[in-house]
């Protein structure tokens, strides 16, 4: 997959193009400015075992080696869905790219970049993701298992990432820990 779109005539990110994003791969992105140094943010993300703290639908991520990790996501009725993710590119303090291995039920890949923001505002963190929308009945069931709306999940996860990095905690409106547990967090 190409991350940059060289046929565009403007400076807008290719994921915001009005046309041409209707191929086999669904691509989407989310940018957020986080008031922290890019190295700190990169290091948090690069240790994938940190990510379930900000990703609501991920139960666990087991780091198998430097480049391979096993992800377990929430499924319906308390079930779990697993896949392996492989790091395909890694530039310290700047970029991490990954894709699912060939056995994944739904092919998915992504890239996160950490770029110092203008005007002392911290770091612009941009995630671009792509997945192969599953076909047929089985595919639809799997899509449900893997969150029907990956874009919604991404934007919420990015907000939680920002909250945790900027404030040291993730904002919640529950009244007590029991309610938090009820919500499965």
């Amino acid at each position: 997959m190409t991350w940059e779109d060289d046929v565009q005539s403007d400076d807008a990110p290719s994921t915001t193009a009005k046309h041409g994003n209707d191929g086999d791969l669904k691509r989407f992105s989310r940018a957020v400015t986080i008031n922290r140094d890019h190295g700190e943010l990169y290091r948090f993300w690069r240790d994938f075992s940190n990510l379930p703290a900000v990703m609501d639908n991920i139960i666990s991520i087991t780091v198998l080696d430097d480049n391979i990790s096993e992800w377990v996501a929430k499924g319906p009725g308390g079930s779990a869905v697993k896949w392996r993710s492989i790091v395909t590119e890694d530039i310290e303090d700047a970029l991490i790219a990954w894709r699912s291995d060939d056995d994944a039920d739904v092919f998915n890949e992504g890239r996160i970049t950490f770029v110092p923001a203008q005007g002392d505002r911290g770091t612009v963190v941009t995630v671009v993701m792509a997945y192969d929308p599953p076909a047929g009945f089985v595919g639809r069931v799997i899509a449900k298992i893997l969150q029907r709306e990956p874009e919604v999940q991404l934007r919420r996860d990015m907000r939680r990432f920002k909250q945790l990095m900027e404030t040291g905690e993730i904002a919640t409106n529950v009244r007590n820990p029991a309610q938090l547990a009820e919500e499965g967090k």
């Binding site: 907000r159 939680r160 909250q163 404030t167 904002a171 529950v174 009244r175």
Partner: protein, 397 residues
């Protein structure tokens, strides 16, 4: 604990709900000693604010005693604090600019979706004010969980009565910011629509910030009387034509700055208002905006429009042409409460600002539903209702 919960339009009840506990490191638990019903609570009561759920605990003006703290709080048990209605993290870009009500992080991630869709960006979390602003349990309760307690709550020195400082939580800073947004210059006349609590505090604030004259507009005699007590000239819009009166009173110039302290429930039998009201009641979705329209039309050329009043959605017939052609500046926003706490506490302690005059009724938390009805139905006499959870405890004990 006991808490005032919203169940629907004109239906609020005191329910028994789960006690709050520390959840996040920077939390504190406050035992509420005083909590007020706000004019904007009436917007919830009247069902104008979307994203409410049955059982939501209301209340965003409160103070009390710290009874528990997380490891990241800088408060200590036993301290008395006033809590800002805005839940702000203190560490994001906006908090760094003291734009606390625009905090990026105070609103939980999932709740931010609603405002991002409606307004383009999510705003800070607020206590007890719908799920768009966080879905947080509010302060009309015995206890409240206060997130980011190292940023918001203001510690009150011993010996100062609750009634003097309670309004630091919302309406006093809101009235002050309304006047500050007028960029008052020497010799200025400021006209204020609405002599509710915010309008009355805006009058005092405008004089402190150097206004030469303040003209206050309302139709409730008691409220106009209070406005006059603070030195405002008053216009009763049921007895006088507001625009004509303002032009005569300012020698045809118009007020240099205008404040809309009314918001989306403007009263009065004006054609635009009646149409707005029909649209609201038939869910055609428009705010009732007579006050802001009239304020813009009356404002002098090159003047300033300050809008502390709460609006939620879209408006019809907004006089955009007048705003442009007359070169007006419009400033508005939810109050950046944390920015004003310390200077306003000092002003209270130096007796520069009077706050206690406002309180017309004090009652136990258990009587909150009656308080809502009274504040809603008897706006002339019920200027401000303060609920005291400990009055309930004393009665029960």
């Amino acid at each position: 604990m006991r808490a005032l919960a919203w169940h629907g339009k004109h239906d609020v009840r005191v329910d028994t709900v789960d006690d709050p506990e520390i959840v996040n490191p920077r939390d504190a638990i406050i035992k509420v000693t005083s909590t007020a019903i706000c004019g904007s609570d009436l917007h919830l009561y009247d069902g104008y604010i979307p994203s409410m759920k049955a059982g939501d605990v209301l209340g965003h003006e409160f103070m009390g005693e710290v009874v528990d703290v997380g490891p990241g709080s800088n408060l200590q048990k036993g301290q008395r604090v006033v809590v800002p209605f805005t839940i702000s993290c203190g560490s994001c870009f906006h908090c760094g600019k003291k734009q606390y009500s625009a905090c990026d992080n105070g609103n939980p991630a999932d709740n931010q979706d609603i405002a991002e869709k409606a307004y383009g960006h999510p705003m800070a979390g607020l206590f007890g004010y719908s799920h768009m602003t966080g879905g947080y349990s509010g302060g009309q309760a015995e206890y409240v969980r206060v997130p980011f307690s190292d940023v918001g709550p203001l510690v009150i020195p011993d010996g100062i009565d609750d009634d003097k400082v309670l309004f630091l939580s919302d309406i006093l800073p809101t009235g002050w910011m309304a006047a500050e947004n007028c960029d008052i210059e020497p010799g200025d006349t400021v006209a204020i629509w609405g002599c509710g609590p915010v309008g009355l505090f805006a009058i005092q604030s405008a004089f402190l910030l150097g206004a030469e004259r303040v003209i206050a507009i309302d139709h409730f005699p008691k409220r106009l009387e209070l406005a006059a007590k603070f030195g405002a000239e008053i216009v009763n819009f049921e007895e006088s034509k507001t625009y004509e009166a303002l032009m005569e009173m300012t020698g045809g110039i118009g007020p240099d700055a205008v404040i809309d302290a009314v918001g989306l429930e403007a009263h009065g039998f004006f054609a635009d208002n009646v149409i707005d009201q029909i649209k609201v009641s038939t869910f055609m979705g428009t705010d009732r905006t007579h006050a802001i329209r009239q304020a813009i039309i009356a404002c002098r050329k090159g003047g300033r429009v300050s809008m502390p009043a709460v609006y939620g959605g879209f408006v019809d017939k907004f006089p955009l042409g007048a705003l442009m052609e007359k070169g007006l500046t419009l400033k508005t926003g939810q109050t950046h409460v944390q920015r004003y706490l310390k200077p306003l506490l000092a002003a209270i302690m130096e007796d520069k600002i009077d706050t206690t005059f406002l309180i017309s009724h004090r009652m136990p938390l258990e009587k909150a539903p009656e308080g809502y009805k009274m504040f809603h139905d008897e706006q002339d006499q019920a200027t401000k209702i303060v609920l005291k959870p400990e009055m309930f405890e004393a009665r029960a004990g």
